[in-house]
Each structure stands twice: as C-alpha cells, then as structure tokens.
Amino acid sequence: MSAATATAAKSASAPGAANPRGPRHSIMSRSAAMLIMGVFTLYFLTPIWWLLVSSTKTGGQITGTAPLWFTLESVPTFLANLGNLFTYSDGVFGRWLLNSALYAGLGALLGTVIAAMCGYALAKYEFRGREAIFNIVLSGVLVPATALALPLFLIFSEVKLTNTLWAVFLPSLVSPFGVYLARIYAAASVPTELLEAARLDGSSEVRTFFTVSTRLMAPALVTIFLFQFVAIWNNFFLPLIMLRDQVLFPVTLGLYAWNSQISQIPELRVLVIVGALVSILPLIGTFLALQRFWSSGLGAGSVK
C-alpha cells in the first residue's frame, strides 16, 4: 500500500532465483564485490565494537588489556560502569537522556505535524502567494541552521530566555526541508477526488486532513520525522551557545562537557565511553528498524 512496501518488495525479489537482472557472474567479480563490502564492514563496525568492548572495562584496563576483546570481569565491570554513569553528579546523565528525548523526540513530532500541514496546504490548495511561500521555504532549506544559532542566541538574550528548555526546543520545531518533502508527498499520495468526496460528505478541511490525508501520507510523515529527529539530535551549536545549566543539556552536549574535563578528572574517561554507548544503542536500534522509511522517502526527495 505504501511506497515503502513497494520498494521493499522489489528489493526482496531482486536477488531471487529468477533474477531478472542478468546472467551468472564470474567468481572473480563476486569475490571482489564481497571483499570490498567485507573490508568496509570492518571499517564501519570496528569503532562501534571498540566502544562496546571498552565500556566493559575499568579506566586502567582500557589501555592495559587487549583493546578489541572482553576481559574476564566484563559483565560486572560493565554493570559497575553503568551504575557510576547514572549516579555521577546526582544522576545528571539520566536527565540528559530525557532532555534529548524531549528536544529531538517531541520537537520532531510537533515539527513534523507543523511541516506536514504547511506542505499539504501548499500541495493541495490554490491560493495567492502559494509559490512565493514555497520559494521562501526552499531558500530556507539552503540556509544553514548553524548560521542562525548566534543570532538566535542574541535574540533570546534580549528576551531573557537563554538557558531555558524553550531556547533549544522552539527553534528546533522549524524544518523547511520537512515542508518541502511534505509538499512532494502530499501532491503524490493524496488524490484530489478524495478531498472533494470528503467535502461533499460535509467533513471540514481540517478534519479531512487529520483523519484522511495524514493516513495517506503516513510513510512520508515518518520520513520527515526521522529527518528532523536527526537534525535536532545532531544540532550542537544551538545548545552549546544557549545552555549554561547542565540539567538542561542534551546528551551530546553533556558528553562533550565531560570529555573536555578529562584532563582534570581522569575517571570521566570511562563514563564518557559508557555514556556514548548508552546514548547511541537505542538510536541505532530505532534507525535500523525504521530503515525502510529512510530509503523510500529519500528517493522521493531526489527524484522530484
């Protein structure tokens, strides 16, 4: 029913027995291909593996033992490290995880709804200034978010709102790229007849959007959500310049702060490593689970 399943089905059929894509291939080129992919698998996974292994070690063991393999006491050490991570400095790490979930999770969720509404209106309604708005949005895509961080900081200083949740949360809601994608998806996946039928049934425009159109746009919305989630999660400049109070930090800024203090407080090294692992594992899991949305959505963005 969706673009995602369509492509997924197609990719699943590709290496099948009745391969439509050509005859058999020499062992040479097969092995060459496998070799390239094998080598790069090591390249991509070794750092993550190292992080996993290192988080099961004490400070001394990180340099003193085999770097890419576990020690005999791995499990208890890992648990002890985890315990330290979540109790150090009154358990501020837990707060950081929550903050990140709030900034990126809730921010992306709201941002997606907002972008979807705007993109949908641009795609499905005729109104004056439509093209102008779309062009402004498009240029917004090309203005780097980091160039805005400093002026945003100065503005928030004027209204005394720096060092608050809002200072990071509110600017994160805006995603011109999300509007751009939403417009493409809405144009392609919401048939105009359906809207007219809904109008004849007496459904209000807003209700039609939330009950009918969003359902049709669902896979696209997931893509927009993921995009914005990553953008907020990765945004470093804005929290760096806005936030003073550790309790408000997202996890990336918190780990950065710990990392910059290692020379004074060496025991933080272990916490940084374990903290990095704890903060990325759930993400890797979610990303991989939702991977099909990435592929399908991204393709659409480029084709148009």
């Binding site: 200083s157 209204v159 720096t162 003073r244 550790q246 407080i265």
Partner: protein
C-alpha cells in the same frame, strides 16, 4: 474558528515583539559606572551558582553549605578557562544569566573587566579589609591598581621555581644552576649525555610570560586612557633569544606539554629540570611516579648573579560576575573560600591549589617535608619565591587571543620556522589589531 484567529494574532504579536527587541540593538551592554555600588545582604535565603574547573571543589563547597543554611552554593564544573569556560562566561554575560561566582585566572581578569563582566565588590562587607590577608601581588591583580575597586578575590597563585633531578646532577658532577648562564652551560653538558635539561613548552605562552615577568618585563601597560602593547621589549627579547638559542642547539625538547609522552619523558629521566609553578609538584608526582624521591626544588635561575626575582605561572581568582543579584552573599562566599583554613586545606588536597592567602604557610599541608622531593620542605622555596614576584605585572585585555597568536608562532619556531622573537612580534601586531577591532583604545 475565531479563537484560532485570536491565537494566530497573538503569535504574530510575539514575533513582532521579538523583531522589535532585535532592532532596538543595545546588545545588553550596560553603561554602569566602574565605581562600587552599594552591597546589601538579601532579606531571605539565597542560592548562588559557582562555576569552576578545580577538581574536588564541590567537596569544599559542601563544607560551606553545611554551615550556611541561608546561602546555598551550587557548583557547576566546566573545562579549563581558555578551553571553554571563559567563552561560556562571555556568552552568559551577554545573555544576562552568568553564574554568581566564577573562577577566572589573573591573566583573564582584564578581559572580563574590559567587557564589563565583573562586579566591583569593594563595598561588600569585609572585602576591602581583606587586602592584608593576601599576597601583595595577587591583590594588585584583582584591583588593577584602582582606588576603591576590588573585582575578585585571589584564590591561588603559581610562584615559579626550578624542579630538578638532584640524583642526576650529583651523579654527573654538574652544579645545580643558579643563573641562566649556568643553566645554559648545564644544558650543553646534559645534552652530551643524551638527555635534555628541560622541555620548551611551545603552547604554554603563559609560562613564557612568567619568565618575562621574572626578567622584569611588562607586556601590557595602560596610561592616558589607552593600552600599550609591548611583547618585544628588551626583557622579552632577552628571554626569547635565550630559549631560541637552546632550541637552535637542540638542547631542549619540544614535546606537547602535559601529554602522555611528556609525562613519560619525565618518568624515564629524559628531563633533568622543569622550571615551573608550585602546582607543578603534583603534576610531576602523578606524571612521573617512578622518579619519586629523586627530585628537589631550587629557586629559579637568575639573570643576575645573586638575584632573587621570581616569576609566576597561573593562578586564579574567584570573581563575582556582573548581573549577580546577590553580590553581598557571593563575595562573602568568595572570601570564605579563599581564607578559611579548612577550605584552603581541602582545596589543596583535592585540587592541588597553592592559596594566595598569606595564612597558607601556617597550614600543615605546606609546613612539612614532601616525600616525592626526598623529604624537602619545598613550600618554603615557593613561599620565598611568592614574596619575590613583581607586584606590578599587568595582563592585557585580550590574553586568550594573544596566547593563541603567539603559540602558533612558537610552534613554528620549535619546528625551525622563524624565531620566538618573530612570534612575539607577530603576536604584538595581531593583539593591537584585535584591540582596535573592539574599539579598545591602544597606542600604536
């Protein structure tokens, strides 16, 4: 529907308010006079925030919090000043939400002063009277020599002396140098034995400044309402040429300071001396544990035979930052932190601080012999050095930038490109440019 319109209008109103706030400019720069304002206690309980990077400071503050129900202090830790905390302070000052109390090194104080980032706490209870409690030159650093002004409370200092490997000098039959000439001669002999007399710290420009300080030089001065920058005066040139000579002959190494390799070279006897500050004692003890008991401390080598001059490297103050609503409580805390014997002892134990308070010499921690230095009472040497530090050395208003510019050049000089003096000349030029770009009056 109408309700929705209402909300939208409200939202637009907020936006235009933001826009107006934006266009009104101002940039949050207040135009308060430099004079001390009144300093009254608050009526109710107060919570202060304190940003520092000294390890263990939270434990010291716990002592305070136990005794002061109504003035609670919350500690926030950050990276070393120049590695991030100062940047944060400036941004927070701009935003009007800086911590009440912050750690600021002496060399950065003028920078904060120029940006109007410090409260003048001279009128706060006990502050003006505290002058006698601190080593003279540190007091000069926090008042800028102004009458009726105190911008911070001295915390610690870094009087310099020479750490040396007593065993190696004895074994080799080389006299422990007391002048820089002897030091250069010893460098040659030590090099002949395959070791180095010391490591030239190419990125620690403040170490170099400490040497210029000892030689009687001045990098910055202010007269007639304008700054004068002089990184290349006679004394600076003398120091630069001296080290350039040792560098050129390959008699000093150029490892990155405080790195693992640097520690290793001390730990394996590659380095025979380290002209450093008092806090270097704990750096050595943790970085070069295998050489315990073999080190000793002597006064800095002198430019003139029989001289006693000492330089200073590092040291911080505890400042009350602009915008604090509770300067009275904040300065009370800052005074306690830097004069209370219990607090000073704990800050030394956990953070390795050598207090700027004169009473420090009475503390047990500084009275006895130190095992790492073969039982020598090393703090007597540093106390003596501290009293010989020139009280009139002045830092410039953009030291972070000056350090960066000079250390870039030092790095090149250490690699054989240009000289240390070239680096100072370039640093001077860039510092003047930087002052001009901020409209800070400077003599050209």
């Amino acid at each position: 529907m109408r309700a929705h319109y209402g909300k939208a209008t409200a939202a637009f109103a907020i936006v235009s308010a933001l826009a107006l706030a934006g266009c009104s400019g101002g940039g949050g720069a207040s135009e308060t006079e430099a004079s001390a304002t009144s300093c009254e206690p608050a009526s109710g309980p107060v919570e202060l925030t304190f940003t520092t990077w000294v390890p263990g400071m939270d434990k010291v503050v716990d002592l305070w919090n136990k005794e002061n129900e109504n003035i609670k202090v919350k500690v926030q830790t950050g990276p070393n000043g120049n590695s991030g905390t100062y940047q944060n302070f400036f941004n927070q000052l701009q935003a009007g939400n800086a911590p009440d109390v912050g750690q600021i090194e002496y060399d950065a104080l003028p920078n904060f002063r120029v940006q109007d980032g410090l409260e003048n706490i001279a009128a706060c209870e006990g502050v003006a009277d505290a002058q006698d409690k601190f080593v003279d030159w540190t007091w000069g650093q926090v008042t800028f020599g102004e009458e009726g002004a105190v911008y911070a409370v001295p915390q610690d200092s870094g009087p310099m002396a020479m750490f040396y490997r007593a065993d190696l000098f004895k074994e080799a039959g080389i006299e422990v140098p007391t002048t820089w000439d002897e030091y250069a001669a010893a460098a040659e002999q030590i090099k002949a034995r395959g070791s180095y007399i010391t490591n030239f710290p190419r990125s620690d420009v403040n170490w170099f400044a400490g040497n210029v300080w000892q030689a009687g030089g001045q990098w910055f001065s202010s007269a007639n309402d304008q700054w004068e920058v002089n990184l290349t005066g006679d004394e600076s040139a003398k120091v630069a040429n001296y080290w350039q000579d040792l560098l050129g002959k390959g008699q000093v190494s150029t490892l990155p300071s405080f790195s693992d390799e640097w520690n290793a070279s001390f730990n394996t006897g590659q380095q025979w001396t380290w002209v450093s500050a008092v806090w270097g004692a704990s750096t050595l003890a943790s970085g070069a544990p295998d050489t315990a008991g073999k080190w000793a401390v002597a006064p800095m080598p002198q430019w003139e035979d029989g001289g006693k001059a000492a330089g200073n490297w590092g040291g911080s103050s505890t400042a009350v930052l602009k915008g604090s609503k509770h300067p009275y409580e904040a300065s009370k805390f800052a005074l306690w932190l830097n004069t209370d014997p219990e607090a000073l002892a704990l800050a030394n134990e956990l953070g390795g601080l050598y207090p700027a308070a004169k009473s420090a010499t009475d503390l047990d921690a500084f009275a006895g012999g130190v095992d790492y230095f073969g039982g020598q009472k090393i703090y007597e040497v540093f106390a003596e050095a501290s009293s010989n530090v020139d009280p009139n050395f002045t830092w410039g208003p953009t030291m972070t930038q000056t350090y960066t510019d000079v250390s870039d050049g030092f790095g090149k000089a250490a690699g054989g490109n240009g000289t240390l003096l070239d680096a100072l000349e370039n640093g001077e030029k860039k510092t003047i440019d930087s002052l001009k770009s901020q409209s800070i009056p400077v003599k050209e």
